[in-house]
Symmetry: C2
């Protein structure tokens, strides 16, 4: 891209998504004039690598955003609530990966391949959606455009990295125990994850749903501009390091054959369809930027039903990549400032 | 049980389900007068433990069923097709855990808590259902009786033991590799299972579905006596040793609240409901005889929708236990012989 070079800040720089921000910015040759790595007092003083050089991690303080054009936040909802308005006041566009602002009415929630124009409506903050809502809407939007959406049911297979370093390390320790014939122990997560699948570990939501399931429902509706979309989810954590998978059942308003659905999805930006036994798995697609769709077939239990299997890297397209794409799109739209 | 002692044969005695047969028979004090362990030529000569004594594994030959009252088969569909008729001719009741006879019109397919009376219709063979169809129908039947069934969607999280010793060992080796920082290798299964989830590994079925998904659909309809039931499944193998889990979305004909559904399921035989954060996971319920149901809630995407999470030991209730229960029920019904 030949764009004016910008002053960038990454908040939550030492987290799993934070580190991915640096990798994605570098790989995509984002026009960086300067970059600041911001984190908690605890992480301040540590160092990251940026373009081959050492970058000091600084403590996040209110004056950290002076001169910053783009601030990428991924340090939890509390930090975003406390510091994003400061960054906006300092003149930065905030792309926020936390859930803090996603459902706020004047904050656009954007998947660039799905609802890019919403970026233009921002008042300083653009929210980056939940790591399952991003691949889900990437697959639903082309189907919606072609045939309308009636109802969506999702069961997830979510990687440990969705919960950050702590669960990734806990899973590694538990895997070590399993391999050595010891009993794996749960430390921070409510259940042992190695050799297991856990339909929980998220905070309570409402009506028996956890927060993750509520996010998928509400965010999918907002991104697709379909506030009444009938949609439900069951979220499950699986012993995978990186890569979220979704078993999706969709009812469209008009019937599509499997071949038509495959054609529609194959033409969708950022989506890669794998046919037959070439289905995607998370261990194989981790590190990729695409949303992979396999096992596309008619759901024979409904006249307009489709079933498919969706996999994406939750740290990249599910988080850091999508956020950087939002910033790139804002630049191209001339929508960097309010 | 004070029942006449019987002559029992276990076919496929050295397989994972075969060994579970011996444990279940012993634990339930099945009235065994004598027991024969039958297996392939390759396994013949090895030894099992039965009631604290050593039991010789014999090669399965056509004359193996002389004097046998109950033959429990779990050696694959080919062996069942070849040898079950011989066992029936010799006067045995065959309870067959393979898929060979499940959909045959004159062979009952039975979950004792769901359709016990079907046992009386046998002509020598009673089929034991698929390891996912058993827990699924245990949960669907009480809901069907109370409110009728309209549509069922299932996404599975299936343990390696469902595919036998070979995949369990392969998963162990791969887990070892992961723990040692080596790249796990797929040998027999089409993809690496450790650190991954795999929506395949079953033979091709029809219309884009694999055989496992077709079995769940067809067998559920047959067990519930609802041949037109609208039902679809996506089957996924997960890196778990024992214990199949199912994310289930059910639409009933009449609306049930979550509380009503919980009450109905709590009263169902063989079903254990776990509420709130006490959801079941496979690693925790492996070895149990119950079908565990958690996360029962309204599916807000449908006026008559329910969502829940079902877990059962695939080797016990999903296979050996259910088969032994069929035999016990046949004895009590006086339906051991045609």
């Amino acid at each position: 891209m030949s764009l004016p070079a910008l002053h960038v800040a990454v908040v939550g720089a030492t987290g799993m998504v934070g580190r991915e921000f640096f990798r994605v910015l570098e790989q995509r040759e984002f026009p960086v004039a300067s970059i600041r790595a911001l984190a908690s007092e605890r992480s301040a003083g540590s160092r990251l690598v940026w373009r081959g050089a050492s970058l000091l991690v600084e403590a996040l303080r209110p004056d950290a955003f002076a001169g910053v054009d783009v601030a990428l936040f991924s340090a939890g909802a509390g930090v975003s609530r406390a510091h994003a308005p400061t960054a906006v006041s300092a003149g930065a566009l905030v792309v926020d990966n936390s859930s803090a602002w996603r459902m706020a009415q004047d904050v656009p929630l954007v998947v660039p391949e799905v609802n890019p124009d919403d970026i233009g409506l921002h008042h300083g903050i653009v929210a980056n959606p939940n790591c399952c809502a991003i691949p889900l809407t990437m697959v639903l939007e082309p189907l919606r455009r072609r045939a309308g959406l009636e109802r969506v049911l999702v069961a997830t297979y979510q990687a440990a990295s969705g919960a950050g370093w702590r669960l990734v390390r806990e899973l590694e320790e538990q895997t070590q125990a399993l391999a050595e014939g010891r009993q794996p122990q749960a430390r921070h997560y409510p259940r042992v994850l190695a050799g297991n699948v856990v339909p929980g570990g998220w905070r309570e939501g409402s009506n028996g749903y956890n927060e993750e399931e509520v996010k998928i429902v509400e965010e999918t509706r907002k991104i697709l501009h379909q506030p009444e979309l009938r949609i439900a989810a069951t979220c499950v954590r699986v012993p995978v390091a990186v890569g979220h998978s979704l078993a999706v059942f969709v009812e469209t308003q008009r019937a599509l054959t499997a071949e038509e659905a495959i054609a529609v999805l194959s033409a969708a930006p950022g989506v890669l369809v794998r046919e037959g036994d070439d289905y995607p798995t998370p261990a194989e697609v981790a590190g990729s930027d695409k949303v992979f769709v396999g096992r596309v077939r008619r759901d024979l239990s409904s006249p307009c039903g489709l079933a498919c299997w969706v996999v994406a890297d939750n740290l990249r397209k599910g988080a850091a990549l999508n956020a950087v794409q939002i910033a790139e799109r804002a630049i191209r739209m001339g929508a960097l400032t309010r």
